[in-house]
Amino acid sequence: MATAVQMSPAAVQPTGLRPGRLLSFYAVAAYLFLHLPLLILAAFSFNSSKFTVWEGFSLHWYSAAFHDAELAEATWNSLIIAAVATIVATIVGTFCAYGLWKRNSPVLSGSLYLSLVTPEIVTGISLLAFFQAIFRFLHLQLGMHTVILAHVSFSIAYVVIVVMARLRTVDVNLEEAALDLGANEWEAFRYVTLPAIWPGVIAAALLAFTVSFDDYVITSLVAGVDSETLPMVIYAIARRGVNPVVNAISALIVVGLGGLILVSERLRGGRTT
């Protein structure tokens, strides 16, 4: 139960509202469920045997992963693609959600819905056909640029939905008040609405990054010769059967990205808003 009484209007996280014991217990169980497969992967990345029977501790899968140039290149590609696509999709998507929140455009929001509803393989095939038609005139080939464009295309709808859900909780009158006080439209957005929806924007960016980093179907269709991504390489290896190199890669990624997050948390100083 909350102990401090907050009298100010919304926008402040009440400090007294901490999760109860039951909720915390549930959260631990939920995180265990989420991370259990990861832990197993990591455990078997140290297994000296190829099969899922424990046969002794070994690091040779890690050295195999490190020495694999194709893997390194694919990881690099995946990171670049995800980073660029996330930035573009988040910016475009946030602006789009804001615009739609002000006044809806049925065609645009209908199209965004439609892009969500399209099965991945259809998106992939349609983009492939589209690029093929255009490339006849432009003498281009499939490559990193086509993958990034494809990722931006399917990520925008996700960003719009998450940011829009957050926007629905913001009071429309706040911007009105800002305009009355002399701010122009951009300032009203930048200093009133944007801070209010910022956690939603972050959540959307996180989702966009994940969706892009993890994508296989669409990427495999529009990737060129030089734009192999990590899911494509892992997919190829894993399809042939259990291979601990894949476990090693996964463990490395988790540790790497996890470490990055921890560092960025420290740098931000853990601000609450």
Binding site: A2, Q6, M7, A10, P14, T15, L17, P19, Y26, A27, A30, H35, L36, P37, L38, I40, F44, V92, G93, G99, L100, R103, S105, L108, L112, S115, V117, T118, P119, I121, V122, S126, A129, F130, S153, I156, V162, V163, M164, A165, R168, T169, E185, W186, P199, I202, A204, L207, T210, D214, Y216, Y235, A238, V246, N247, I253, V254, L257, L262, G270
Partner: protein
């Protein structure tokens, strides 16, 4: 007021028109063509791909897919809501906990699915543990059935539910709960009658983000279901790969998209306009 809004919408318009609507137009064109002699597509124009769908073979597949997608969505909601609530109330560590939800999903989807296969197999971890503890004598058939597919789908799409829920819950005003308590509400009543109604946008967003991919899923049912029960996603995938029947695959996809869009509009139109 209008000028800034136009500017904000412009990039989205360009990308949507060029990278989605135009390619989609191509798919519509494909669906009206015939399968090329040895794959792909060719003239003549025909609506045969659509009439072929009337065959009673395809309805059970569609219904099954809806059932599994619906069950996955409900499970994600039940499992994801308390988690989102926890994260929203975690104060300073919010972003950390949020990232911890996403972390498993930065490993490959396929690898995570294989990890589940390892857990659920007859000689897998769960069965081995249960047998060792003496709870059961013969291994439980945990893999290669609908249950395994549900576990796999829920596991894959949980963050899609947690993130939008968190987005709305984070904004929740604690004073409202204060007021509810002051008026005599139990924590449970406060939850069901104050918190949940206020997060309806998040619930809607999350449900859509889970239901739709689950509907079109094909890898999870294939790997965890043992390829024994065909879902719509498998059917479509098959058309674009082994069968090389692009027109039919396009037609199935468009019909599926149409059905879902119709449901979405029925679901959403009730209150406000716009995207959710």
């Amino acid at each position: 007021m209008i000028r800034l809004r136009r500017l904000f919408l412009a990039p989205a318009w360009i990308i949507t028109a060029g990278l989605f609507l135009a390619p989609l137009g191509i798919v519509v064109v494909y669906s009206l063509l015939t399968r090329g002699a040895y794959g792909g597509f060719s003239l003549p124009w025909t609506a045969e791909s659509y009439t072929r769908l009337m065959d009673p073979l395809y309805l059970p597949i569609l219904l099954r897919s809806f059932w599994i997608a619906g069950a996955s969505t409900v499970l994600c909601l039940l499992l994801g809501f308390p988690l989102a609530l926890f994260i929203a109330r975690s104060g300073a560590r919010r972003n950390l906990y949020l990232s911890m939800v996403m972390l498993p999903f930065w490993t490959s989807f396929l690898v995570r699915t294989y990890a589940w296969m390892f857990l659920l197999r007859d000689t897998g971890l769960i069965n081995s543990l249960l047998i060792k503890l003496g709870v059961i004598h013969d291994p439980l058939p945990l893999l290669y059935n609908d249950g395994a597919v549900l576990v796999g789908l829920v596991y894959s799409y949980l963050p899609f539910m947690v993130l939008p829920l968190y987005g709305t819950l984070e904004r929740l005003d604690g004073t409202l709960l204060e007021a509810a308590a002051d008026l005599g509400a139990t924590p449970w009543a406060a939850l069901t009658r104050v918190v949940i109604p206020l997060c309806t946008p998040g619930i809607r967003a999350g449900s859509i983000l889970v239901f739709i991919p689950c509907l079109g899923a094909y890898l999870t049912p294939d790997l965890l279901g043992g390829g024994k029960s065909e879902m719509i996603g498998n059917l479509i995938q098959n058309q674009f790969t082994t069968a090389r029947d692009w027109p039919f695959g396009s037609a199935i996809s468009l019909v599926l998209m149409g059905i879902v869009m119709a449901l979405l509009f029925a679901f959403v139109r009730r209150d406000r306009e716009g995207l959710l």
